[in-house]
């Protein structure tokens, strides 16, 4: 066997090495100096992220179970970048005395889930897809219950593990039906033998229900808000950006590659899910006062917009989804970064607590405003371009009414995003959050997010690059 071909798995192998390295560092470092693990783990992970950008040829491993192409490598790089930003943002939280003895667990669990997501994206059959999915899900439950002395955190953990166990059970039941109908678990074989028989359609519906839990589409979204609220804030940002992004990537890959033959059947299902997800999530977001819960519903609504790109099936849809997730990473992590630093400095998690933030912390307020504008899709910032291409790809397939509904929803979402802006800039507060200065790592992460919010939108080369990659992926 030629060892050189393992270059195709470089992301997964490097991440495994990074996890083992953090484990060894934990053993080697003195009990009293545990916070030293943070810069070590960050350095190692930054190196891994950097090496991941080295291009490699497309190819398959393990008889087709593992498929690598420049597009999947790019998706993994996006996820790596997001996790790097989250690690930078989590420093202040990890340095709190109650977390100091479990710093390395945080890094190992996070990297383990990331390995699972990478395998999920690269999977070439349903077995490796399922193993990757579970590797990505089970450690997150541990992360959600990370503040083990807080009952809210424990509640978030148990809610996450039980609903994800149920959802993967439902998903597997669907997969077993598809296996019964086609006689294979390999994506290429299934795609060849697939026809719209009742068994296949039933299996597909179970499959979408299971994946809907992971991407938190309405009506499978009930766990999302509770878990997001109860989990520590950096874990919440991980769940809402990385976990959701990976699930969206995998979902679109499988829909385009495996279920392309039954597109006429699944387009109706995805259509209804998209409308429900956008509308209901927006209506719930209107009445939230907890910033984490608010961002949870906003992220459910964004998942609804991603479905528009999935409906645009094929090259353009894929490009729009990847481009949107790339923008979403910077945008949402910008908002979460501000929320994390405000929480670290003052313990405030409510939107009314943000009243008058502009007077004391103008820079943070400006970044929060830009992130929220980008989430809402207001032109100068990147979020607009992301939404624009999603809408274009859906309109290209003739879903004009759906695009109209999506535009209306984007308008509604503007109301609740601006509510936070109003709280920060206009509302009076006798005791606003006092002036504070974030740690250098937090500031670095916020600067990366700010740069991303502007650059990804304006540098048109990025979109063309992704389009070339997805052209290569489909041909």
């Amino acid at each position: 066997m030629n060892l050189g071909q393992f270059i195709l798995m470089r992301h997964e192998l490097l991440l495994t090495i990074a996890a083992v390295f953090v484990l060894i560092a934990e053993l080697a470092i003195n009990e009293k100096a545990k916070s030293k693990i943070i810069p070590i783990a960050l350095g190692v992970f930054a190196l891994v992220t950097l090496i991941g950008f080295i291009p490699a040829e497309p190819g398959v491993l393990f008889g087709g179970s593992f498929q690598s192409s420049p597009l999947t490598s790019f998706m993994k790089n996006v996820l790596n970048l997001a996790v790097l930003i989250i690690f930078l943002q989590s420093e202040g939280w990890l340095k709190k005395p109650e977390n100091l003895d479990k710093v390395s667990e945080y890094f190992i669990l996070t990297i383990a889930t990331l390995i699972g997501m990478n395998f999920m994206i690269s999977s070439g059959d349903f077995l490796s897809f399922y193993v990757g999915l579970e590797t990505a899900t089970i450690p997150i439950a541990g992360l959600a219950a990370f503040d083990k002395l807080k009952s809210r955190s424990a509640e978030a953990g148990i809610k996450l593990i039980l609903s994800s166990a149920l959802s993967s059970g439902i998903l597997l039941f669907g997969l077993s039906m598809i296996y019964g109908a086609t006689g294979s678990i390999y994506f290429t074989d299934i795609a060849q033998n697939l026809s719209a028989t009742p068994l296949v359609i039933l299996g597909f519906i179970f499959f979408v229900a299971g994946m809907g839990f992971k991407i938190s589409l309405v009506p499978f979204h009930f766990w999302t808000a509770d878990v997001y609220e109860g989990a520590p804030i950096t874990v919440t940002s991980y769940l809402s950006v990385v976990s959701k992004g990976a699930a969206a990537f995998t979902f679109s890959i499988i829909l385009f590659r495996v279920f392309n033959a039954v597109f006429d059947q699944w387009q109706h299902l995805i259509y209804v899910l998209a409308v429900m997800t956008m509308t209901i999530a927006n209506l719930f977001a209107l009445r939230q006062d907890n910033i984490k819960r608010f961002l949870a519903f906003s992220s459910i609504a964004q998942a609804g917009f991603i479905l528009l790109g999935i409906l645009g099936a094929g090259e353009l849809g894929m490009t729009a989804v990847v481009y949107f997730v790339l923008i979403y990473v910077f945008t949402n992590l910008g908002a979460f970064g501000v929320a994390t630093s405000v929480y670290n400095a003052s313990g405030i998690e409510t939107i009314s607590g943000y009243n008058g933030l502009y007077k004391t912390n103008p820079k943070l307020s400006l970044l929060m405003t830009l992130s929220l504008f980008s989430l809402a899709g207001i032109p100068p910032v990147a979020g607009f371009f992301g939404k624009f291409f999603l809408f274009t790809s859906a309109a290209g397939r003739g879903y004009y009414i759906l695009v109209l509904i999506a535009v209306l929803n984007a308008t509604i979402s503007l109301y609740y995003y601006l509510r936070i802006v109003k709280a920060m800039f206009i509302d009076q507060n006798d005791q606003p959050v006092p002036l504070f200065r974030s740690s250098p790592m937090m500031r670095a992460s916020l600067i990366i997010c700010l740069a991303g919010i502007f650059l990804v939108g304006f540098v048109s080369g990025i979109f063309e690059y992704i389009r070339d990659l997805s052209h290569l992926f489909f041909n």
Binding site: F126, I138, A141, K148, L162, A225, F284
Partner: protein, 105 residues
């Protein structure tokens, strides 16, 4: 292939198990029982995979291997879930779902 037993008998059993599991998950109010319901679902999937493999595609092994992997991963899931249930028990001194309700919308 089992002599004299058609494939439908197995599929009826597995489908029944699946829906008993889903109902149990929704109706039962104890976290451990909910976990047991999930195990029922996973085992019904195992039956499906093995039966489809044995009856429809007897010359290959993909279904058998899939069910082996499901058994392994279900064990990992149960281990983490039970650890979290113990954590819940330490916080609120029981494991009834009604009491895990600090957050609601």
């Amino acid at each position: 292939m089992v002599q004299g037993i058609p494939i439908y008998h197995f599929l009826v059993v597995s489908t029944l198990m699946f829906f008993i599991g889903v109902c149990g998950f929704i109706i039962r109010r104890n976290l451990i029982t909910m976990l047991m319901a999930v195990e029922l679902i996973l085992n019904s999937v195992n039956i499906n995979f093995v039966v489809f493999n044995r009856y429809l595609y007897p010359d290959q092994l993909q279904g058998h291997f899939f069910s082996l992997f499901i058994v392994g991963i279900a064990a990992a899931e149960a281990a983490v879930a039970i650890a979290l249930v113990i954590n819940i028990y330490r916080r609120i001194n029981n494991i009834e779902v009604e009491n895990v309700n600090e957050m609601k919308f």
